[in-house]
């Protein structure tokens, strides 16, 4: 069975939800500990959301130096699929696996809502089970969610098709060009601010077409990587 590692840093909140999403997608979740550099032969890694190290210094800044991150950076450069969600996305930018950074929401308030995203790139390891241009709904909850990068970097991301998820309808945090998630050039490393792992099972997710809490649009992020690994 495909083994997907889920990293826990001090202050991580969504590791259990991420592990549950991995299980529901049909893979075996493997707990990875921040202080252990051993990746335990996993086939992919998820960096979940939360407030690692209390967001001290900058969100994700201290986690970047955890022993497990050295191994993840090396493995990611070698092609290992890596997904960073929310704080995990912040860790990936601090680790220089993805460009740009996140600062406080432009409206200065914490935001928690069901957010519509458009899928802009289906060639990554984490989005191949979606259709290009498809709109999905997943929860969004953040304080430092405003994606920023210089204009040249933004133009590069757009030009190379590396914007993977874009906010649809409203821009909930002032992110540049409505960017909700991006990928590296190889397509194996993806980071996004919203939470697909909170929309994977009927009864617990956002409202969907079949009624309240029936939304499971996030599950295909996790099935995508299974198909990418066997394909």
């Amino acid at each position: 069975m495909t083994r997907i590692g889920v990293v826990t840093f001090p202050g991580t909140l969504d590791d259990r939800d991420a592990a549950r999403a991995v299980r529901l997608a049909g893979a075996e979740p493997v707990s990875l500990w921040h202080a252990d550099a051993d990746l335990h032969a996993v086939d992919a890694v998820v960096l979940p959301g939360g407030f690692s190290y209390g967001d001290y210094l900058r969100a994700g800044a201290i986690s970047r130096f955890a022993p497990v991150m050295g191994s993840i950076v090396d493995a990611a450069n070698g092609g290992l699929p890596v997904l960073g969600i929310c704080n995990g996305f912040q860790v990936l930018t601090e680790a220089h696996l993805l460009p740009g950074s996140m600062i406080k929401n432009d409206h200065l308030r914490f935001v928690c809502r069901e957010q519509v995203l458009s899928i802009e790139n289906i060639d990554t390891a984490w989005t191949r089970d979606y259709a290009r241009g498809e709109r999905i709904t997943v929860p969004l909850k953040n304080q430092d969610g405003q994606y920023v990068a210089d204009e040249r970097t933004l133009d590069e991301l757009e030009g190379e098709g590396r914007v993977v998820f874009r906010y649809s309808g409203v821009n909930p945090n002032g992110s540049r060009r409505g960017i909700a998630g991006i990928t590296n050039a190889a397509g194996n490393v993806v980071g996004l601010m919203p939470h697909p792992e909170h929309a994977v099972e009927v009864g617990f997710g956002p409202d969907g077409a079949k009624g309240p809490r029936t939304g499971t649009d996030g599950l295909r992020v996790f099935t995508s990587v299974l198909h990418a690994l066997v394909g």
């Binding site: 740009g100 600062i103 432009d106 920023v148 990068a149 002032g174």
Partner: protein
């Protein structure tokens, strides 16, 4: 004992949401003299001996690689805090 101060500020191009919030609060408290506020970070790095050129160079390197993120912040000053010796 010596001490080095590293000052980090958000880059001018980046909107500073916290500074904006503080700027909004000041006039409500009667401080109408200020037109804008920018909020940064001050780090105080203490070392065993005096602040040498090597120590300052190390503080500069720490400032660039750890204490700031060049995508959103600039290290605007790195200097020895002369008052530190009196505190010791």
């Amino acid at each position: 004992m010596g001490r080095v101060v590293v000052d980090v500020m958000p880059t001018p191009e980046i909107l500073d949401p916290q500074g904006k919030a503080v700027a909004g609060a000041l006039p409500r408290l009667g401080f109408v003299q200020f037109t804008s506020v920018r909020q940064g970070k001050r780090f105080e790095l203490t070392c065993e001996g005096p602040v040498t050129d090597e120590i300052l160079a190390a503080a500069r390197e720490a400032g660039e690689h750890v204490l700031s993120n060049p995508v959103i912040e600039d290290v605007v000053a790195v200097y020895a805090d002369e008052s530190a010796r009196a505190d010791a």
